[in-house]
């Protein structure tokens, strides 16, 4: 994408019908570190790569609990992500207070999308520079949604956002058809394997990732480092297994197809 004369204002259309500022906002999402979501019929798993500003600092929190039955993982401008998470928590708790009942995920996601849309149609605002993977449970089952800075939202069986997410997406594309019937443990394993894809060669350690689960009879919570390491140990110990062989090919194929996979040095400090 190159600079052009129609990209200064969010309220300026280009002659080809594009809003460049909105598209630039979506670029910001691609710069953040990876976040992954998958769902089965009864559970949703959200996972993210832990990235720290420097060796001295703690890592950025990218997954937030919205309510017992909803969690969100973000990629892009984390400050924007925090503000939107606070909005989601507020909506969820207001609904619970009035109706003593959990807010259906689909309705929360629409409100979020409408809030994002407003920022694409006001000259004094800017779009939120964060993509959100919203996972939740309601009457109609387990759901995973992706909310874009453009105000669009889609429902997914599995999805990945952020830098080097294409590698994870390729892995998920090969496996997603079985996710609906997956057990909770298999779903977690697949999430961690997908995270591994985005690390591109770096050894997978539990300190590098955050994993959260929610499901029927299981309120949203984070998995502790021990449990994550246990899952990693089940596949990382034998690196030359047939699973790994398939992964190496996928990585090689995914690398040239990479989009916006900027090196870590180019990431602006406000994006994680």
């Amino acid at each position: 994408m190159f600079r052009n004369q129609y990209d200064t204002d969010v309220t300026t259309w280009s002659p080809t019908g594009r809003l460049f500022q909105v598209e630039y906002a979506m670029e910001a999402v691609k710069q953040g570190s990876a976040a992954i979501g998958l769902r089965s019929r009864s559970h949703v798993v959200l996972a993210s790569v832990n990235k720290a500003q420097s060796e001295l600092s703690s890592h950025q929190w990218k997954i937030f609990k919205v309510d017992d039955h909803i969690g969100v993982a973000i990629a892009g401008l984390t400050a924007d992500g925090r503000v939107l998470s606070r909005y989601m928590r507020s909506e969820s708790i207001n609904h619970s207070f009035t109706y003593e009942s959990p807010l259906p995920v689909g309705r929360l996601v629409v409100r979020l999308a409408d809030k994002a849309q407003v920022c694409t149609q006001r000259s004094w605002k800017r779009p939120y520079g964060v993509g959100l993977l919203v996972g939740g449970l309601d009457e109609s089952g387990a759901h995973l949604y992706y909310n874009c800075p453009s105000g669009n939202y889609f429902e997914y069986q599995a999805f990945a956002i952020g830098s080097r997410s294409q590698a994870a997406k390729t892995y998920l594309e090969r496996r997603f058809e079985s996710f609906n019937e997956s057990s909770r443990e298999d779903l977690i394993k697949d999430a961690i394997l997908a995270i591994r894809e985005t690390l591109q060669g770096e050894t997978l350690k539990s300190s590098l990732c955050t994993v959260s689960v929610l499901g029927v009879d299981e309120p949203f919570h984070f998995l502790d480092q021990e449990s994550i390491q246990k899952v990693i140990d089940t596949f990382e110990k034998v690196p030359e297994e047939e699973e790994d062989g398939g992964e190496a090919e996928a990585e090689a194929a995914a690398a040239p197809a990479e989009q916006g996979g900027a090196g870590d040095q180019d990431v602006a400090p406000m994006e994680m």
Binding site: F97, E100, S101, G106, S140
Partner: protein, 245 residues
């Protein structure tokens, strides 16, 4: 009710409408509602009377209405406030339907919404002068609850409003049990309504029994209870208090 509460409507001296905006006393009122949980859902009984003070003025008022797919709402107290509540719920149900997303308002949600509304109005010293009974079935679970005009709210296996609390609840405490059949449930409710008919001055002999199950709502046609006035106690009712004192 002669104290004045400052209200955001302007100076009471200059603005004639300030006090008349708040509910001070009820005008057209409905009497008791009695409701019980039974095997397949909830049964609710009410008469069709609307009293204007001590006059039994209106004899065709439906005091029980279906709300959405899963709930039944009965009200005693000010009829116009009940109609206002139905308008609020109409909007709520409409918005819920417009989502068209597989989620629907169950009786628990409606009950809690009403509790919020009633309590908020009470806090503003402008109550909706009703005691509401909310019954329903969703996903096989029966639900029965009550909200009063001051926002007191609770759930139980059997509830009653107004005089029903004093005359019907004792009967229900003795004779209600879980998994009543439809016929037994109706007989039990009729027993309660008969007592209310004899002893509540504002009760009329024209009642409806409404039922809600997983399949939906049915409101019966109005009918009357058979009464017996030849009890010894009804002959010569002033026997114990001859003359003035």
């Amino acid at each position: 009710m002669t104290f004045t509460i400052p209200i955001d409507n302007g100076d009471a001296l200059k603005n004639a409408e300030t006090d008349s905006q708040r509910t001070l006393y009820p005008y057209v009122t409905g009497t008791s509602i009695v409701a019980i949980k039974y095997k397949d859902g909830v049964l609710m009984a009410s008469d069709m009377g609307g009293s204007y003070g001590s006059t039994l003025r209106y004899k065709n008022i439906e005091r029980v209405k279906a709300i959405g797919k899963h709930s039944l709402l009965g009200a005693s107290g000010e009829i116009s406030d009940f109609q206002e509540i139905l308008r609020y719920l109409d909007e709520l149900v409409l918005n819920d339907n417009m989502w068209d997303d597989g989620n629907s308002l169950g009786p628990k949600e409606v009950h809690n919404y009403l509790t919020r509304v009633m309590y908020n109005r009470r806090n503003k010293f402008n109550p909706l002068w009703n005691t509401l009974v909310l019954g329903g079935v969703k996903n096989g679970q029966s639900y029965l609850g009550m909200v009063s005009m001051i926002g007191v709210s609770f759930e139980d296996n059997h509830v009653a409003t107004g005089f029903g609390n004093h005359l019907a609840r004792p009967i229900l405490r003795d004779e209600w049990h879980a998994d009543l059949s439809f016929e037994d449930g109706v007989k039990l409710l009729e027993k309660c309504m008969r007592v209310l008919l004899y002893r509540d001055r504002s009760a009329i002999n024209k009642l409806q029994i409404s039922k809600i199950t997983e399949e939906g709502v049915t409101v019966s046609q109005p009918y009357s209870l058979k009464t017996f006035w030849e009890f010894q106690a009804f002959h010569n009712p002033t026997a114990g208090a001859q003359g003035s004192w």
